[in-house]
């Protein structure tokens, strides 16, 4: 089998240019604080995308900086901020003052967002839950509506299925066809891959298909669901990638301070996104000392599992 014939490998700039047009709904940050596709977000900003709908449970600071860069018209999320340090200033400026422009917020809870993607992954129009009963979220999110159970007396929330145009999912390793191994916590990534019309996999490593098929339990995104594969080492920094690098806590804290004022944020954006054409240049700017500090120091390999027969 010729690998080239089945290869979906493209550069990050090609993947974003082809699959994330202006107006798209984009699932990012599906694994919560782990494995956030920061390099994809930076490329979306550089390519000047506008009017995106960002979808994700909690986005850490990625949604905040994309909002500040003016790419976003709507956010469908459970939480938007900067996880270890607090609020997201760009999100606040956009919602409170319309800077750089007003955005619509569709507030979910983590569980209801997970169920919205799960419903789409299952191919059903909605799923029922008791979560969010009594919450004022119901007044602002028309995708959550109360109904009476047809099989009892219970009141429930119908969570409408949510089908993003594209999911951008960092993974530890993939083959060129997009079959992807992930490990760690998955958040909503597995449902997200099944729910979305297109999937861009951002792989830390590209491996031969035999590596993937040696451990099919770890293949959480089958390649036939994948539209494009991007090989992007360090693509999640400053978020962690289990087994490759840790979380750059200081980077999140620095962003928090440097995004407090709009003009400081603009400088930060130029410095860390607009003036750097690719992740390779970003890593040069970050510096080898800082990246060396984040690398895994104590490897912890799993026990092998025997798939023999």
């Amino acid at each position: 089998m010729s690998v080239a014939a089945h290869s979906k490998l493209v550069s990050m700039s090609q993947a974003i240019a082809e699959h994330v047009p202006t107006g798209s709904s984009v699932l990012m940050g599906a694994e919560l604080e782990q494995m956030i596709p920061f390099s994809a977000g930076h490329e979306i900003i550089r390519q000047g995308r506008r009017e995106l709908t960002l979808i994700g449970p909690i986005s850490d600071m990625l949604f905040d900086l994309m909002i500040g860069a003016g790419c976003v018209s709507r956010v469908m999320a459970a939480w938007v901020g900067n996880a270890s340090v607090g609020v997201g200033y760009c999100f606040r400026r956009a919602v409170e003052q319309g800077i750089p422009h007003a955005i619509e917020t569709v507030d979910y809870t983590n569980f209801t967002l997970a169920m919205a993607l799960h419903a789409a992954a299952l191919g059903v129009p909605f799923l029922p839950t008791y979560a969010a009963l009594g919450s004022d979220l119901l007044q602002s999110n028309s995708n959550l509506s109360e109904f009476k159970s047809p099989v009892g007396e219970d009141r429930l929330i119908a969570v409408q299925a949510l089908r993003p145009d594209v999911a951008i999912l960092p993974v530890q390793r993939a083959d060129a066809a997009g079959n992807s191994h992930l490990w760690g916590n998955f958040g909503v990534a597995i449902d997200g891959a099944r729910a979305s019309r297109k999937v861009i996999v951002v792989a830390e490593e590209i491996v031969p298909p035999e590596v993937i098929s040696s451990d099919p339990n770890r293949t959480l995104i089958p390649g036939f669901l994948v539209t494009a594969v991007v090989h992007e080492p360090w693509g999640a920094h400053p978020a962690p990638m289990q087994g490759y690098y840790g979380r750059d806590h200081a980077f999140f804290a620095e962003y928090h301070e440097e995004s407090r004022k709009a003009e400081d944020f603009d400088r930060w954006l130029e410095c860390w996104v607009l003036n750097l054409p690719s992740r390779a240049e970003y890593m040069v700017k970050l510096g080898s000392t800082r990246s060396a500090d984040l690398k895994v120091r104590n490897h912890a390999y799993t026990a092998p599992a025997d798939f023999g027969f």
């Binding site: 939480w79 938007v80 507030d107 983590n110 009963l133 919450s135 998955f186 597995i190 449902d191």
Partner: protein, 222 residues
């Protein structure tokens, strides 16, 4: 995260920690966590999976206690983490995350926050995560599970518990804090338990554990 680590070392050695990103742990992480997705929280976890595998257990009523922070809590234990205000201006806060799910579905919920008038308000402006709504019976009217709801509000001045009418009352007061200080910093007329007690001070073992879990006081700073 710190409450779980402390409980494991003290009264609840067999507790399991569940994290909504998909992690379950029998032992707390070996380093301080800045987020639940820090690599040390995945290392030697008991289970790593997706969000629904954890939240499904919550919805079944199998999670005993949930811990929540909040920008605002009111006298019925309702939480607001969506819309705040500062100097009369609306302030957009990050939102629910998993807090609303936990407040709806955990068997009991413990809220932890700094005791300030702008945080302990008579009525939250927005119910992000429901407590007892407007009083007794409200949760069942909404359709929330029978065995769920707020159990305590732990502040920097005392501990509130909830009466049969669904309203919070001061059950214990921290040493060195007066009732006047509590009243001055609470946005509603505080009811006080007939048998109000001083909050037990942390034991030497508790403090030693906390200092070991958070040596740089990242989360436990005053």
């Amino acid at each position: 995260m710190i409450a779980f680590a402390l409980a494991k070392r003290t009264h609840a050695p067999r507790a399991t920690g569940l994290f909504e990103n998909g992690i379950m742990r029998d032992e707390p992480a070996s380093t301080l966590l800045y987020t639940m997705g820090d690599p040390s929280n995945l290392f030697q976890a008991t289970f790593c999976g997706d969000m629904i595998s954890v939240m499904s257990l919550l919805q079944q009523g199998r999670v005993n206690v949930g811990f929540l922070g909040a920008a605002e809590v009111d006298r019925f234990g309702n939480l607001n983490t969506t819309w705040g205000s500062r100097n009369g201006q609306r302030v957009r806060l990050p939102g629910s995350g998993g807090a609303c799910d936990i407040a709806c579905l955990a068997q009991r919920t413990v809220v932890i926050l700094a005791h300030e008038t702008q945080r302990l308000v008579a009525r939250v402006k927005h119910i992000t995560s429901p407590g007892n709504g407007d009083g007794a019976g409200w949760r069942s009217e909404q359709g929330l599970p029978a065995h769920s709801g707020p159990s305590a509000i732990i502040t920097t001045m005392g501990v509130f518990r909830f009466g049969p009418d669904g309203e919070a009352f001061l059950a214990s007061i921290h040493p060195g804090i007066s009732l006047q200080e509590v009243a001055k910093n609470t946005g509603w007329t505080t009811r006080v338990a007939d048998d109000l007690v001083p909050t037990p001070v942390p034991t030497e073992d508790d403090l030693a554990a906390l200092r070991e879990i958070d040596p740089s006081h990242f989360w436990t700073k005053a």
